[in-house]
């Protein structure tokens, strides 16, 4: 009886931990038709899930990281993905606040130099009010910097940039606006991959 109890507890604990830290980075893969030179798949990396990190990890409110449940792509739009939250932070004007840098990173490991990538960011309808969100995407070893007006979009995907061999995407809390006047929303990033020769 005791062994049965331990087994059940271990099983439930295992499922819970698996759901929590499991594959929350969604992949959409498949095989290409041999007569079609252009094949694609997509990858979504959710804030708070696998493949996502924030630096520094511990930065306490009010000026640090905030997590809002029920908002963002997984929280407000797609009920099948996880975790159902968005991350946000008040803006800073420049590096004077924190020279070592404060940013979130979406990891895109897994694709190759041969694959064309379009990178999109999801802009939530709340806590994403900066006019100058600084995204940096590393393509094939080189950074592409772009600046997005998050206040111009509400629960929408916005195209960031294209390249080859996407490695990671960074989003900084530095916006150039007066400090603590806007919010930077850190939510889902989606990559659409294309290759000209069948690979998947």
């Amino acid at each position: 009886m005791k062994l049965l109890k331990m087994t059940l507890i271990a099983l439930i604990l295992g499922i819970f931990v698996g759901l929590t830290v499991g594959d929350v980075s969604a992949w959409f893969t498949g095989s290409c038709k041999t007569d079609n030179p252009l094949c694609w798949y997509w990858e979504r990396v959710a804030d708070g899930g696998g493949g996502w990190s924030r630096t520094p990890q511990n930065l306490q409110p009010p000026w640090g990281w905030h997590v809002l449940s029920g908002e963002g792509w997984c929280g407000n739009i797609d009920s099948t993905c996880f975790p159902n939250q968005m991350t946000w932070k008040v803006n800073e004007q420049n590096l004077e606040c924190c020279a070592s840098g404060v940013y979130a990173t979406w990891d895109h490991a897994g694709n190759t130099e041969a694959e064309h990538v379009d990178v999109f960011a999801f802009i939530p309808d709340v806590k994403a009010t900066t006019s100058n969100a600084h995204y940096a995407v590393s393509f094939n070893g080189s950074l592409t910097h772009t600046y997005v007006s998050q206040i111009s979009y509400s629960d929408e995907w916005v195209f960031l940039s294209s390249g080859y061999h996407a490695q990671y995407t960074d989003l900084s809390h530095i916006t150039g606006e007066n400090p603590h006047t806007t919010h930077v929303g850190f939510d889902e990033v989606q990559n659409n991959y294309y290759s000209w020769t069948p690979q998947h």
Binding site: A10, L19, W27, C32, K33, C81, S131, G141, S154, N192
Partner: protein, 263 residues
């Protein structure tokens, strides 16, 4: 000892089941292929460009300068500038090779001009250039094209040539954003009426069949008003209810627009 081993194995099974549930919950079932050019000469040229970039990348990794960043090997110094230039050049060439014929893209340009005429009365808008191709992030079966007009971008559905998104594009270093009329001359009701009138002209779906959701965003110096009409009776594979949404400045300028009702 046996009990501990058995418990650990069970824990592992639980972990596997949990991870599998988490992974499958975020997957979509089918994969389609899209085709933007069937010209063998163009395909060969595209593959040649990619092979060249791969070869130069390997050479630069071996002989150039690199550093470790975010757990990845990236180029630094002159190597970074050289590889960025090569990638941009490769992208531009492949975009040209993979693009639809000019006469087909002209149809997209025509709908962009018609959209601009309705949205801001600008009948003489000039499309700066065709930027790239892709697929709609809400529906990966639908190829789209990206066009640029100054600091704004248009996303056009290849199948219908309709504008599926308009708004401020992601700017590069040194570029200036679009300026809008920020004077609060319209109240919320007047803004909603303007949004409804614009969307009725830009979209063919009767708004009376959709559910209106309103959002106001307040930034450092301005506000943005969003009016979103959703079809709550449908859900796309991506999990989103089809919608048309327009974002207005306090004076009623069209800041952004997204329409995925037709997907």
């Amino acid at each position: 000892m046996v009990k501990i081993v058995f418990t650990l194995i069970t824990l592992g099974v639980g972990l596997f089941i949990g991870s599998s549930i988490a992974a499958s919950a975020s997957s979509v079932e089918s994969v389609e292929n899209i085709l933007l050019t069937t010209d063998p000469a163009k395909q060969a040229k595209i593959e040649s460009l990619i092979d060249h970039m791969k070869a130069v990348t390997q050479d630069e990794l071996a002989h150039g300068t690199t550093e470790e960043l975010r757990g990845e090997t990236v180029f630094s110094g002159e190597s970074s500038e050289k590889m960025k230039a090569l990638q941009d050049s490769t992208l531009d060439q492949i975009n040209d090779l993979a693009a639809r014929p000019v006469q087909d893209r002209q149809k997209a340009v025509n709908t962009i001009k018609a959209f601009a005429t309705v949205a801001d009365g600008n009948e003489s808008v000039t499309v700066d250039h065709y930027e790239t191709f892709g697929v709609n992030p809400y529906d990966n079966d639908r190829p789209v094209e990206f066009y640029i007009i100054g600091p704004m971008h248009y996303v056009v559905d290849v199948a219908t040539n309709n504008v599926v998104q308009f708004g401020p594009r992601a700017l590069k270093d040194g570029e200036s954003p679009q300026q809008f009329n920020e004077l609060s001359v319209l109240n919320h009701e007047e803004l909603r009426d303007r949004a409804q009138a614009l969307v009725s002209e830009l979209s063919t779906t009767p708004l009376s069949t959709l559910t209106l959701k309103t959002t106001v965003k307040e930034g450092a110096t301005t506000k943005r008003y969003f009016f979103r009409w959703e079809d709550n009776n449908q859900t796309l594979e991506s999990g989103v209810h089809p919608f048309v949404q327009i974002g207005l400045s306090p004076a009623g300028d069209v800041v952004s627009y997204t329409n995925i009702l037709g997907l």
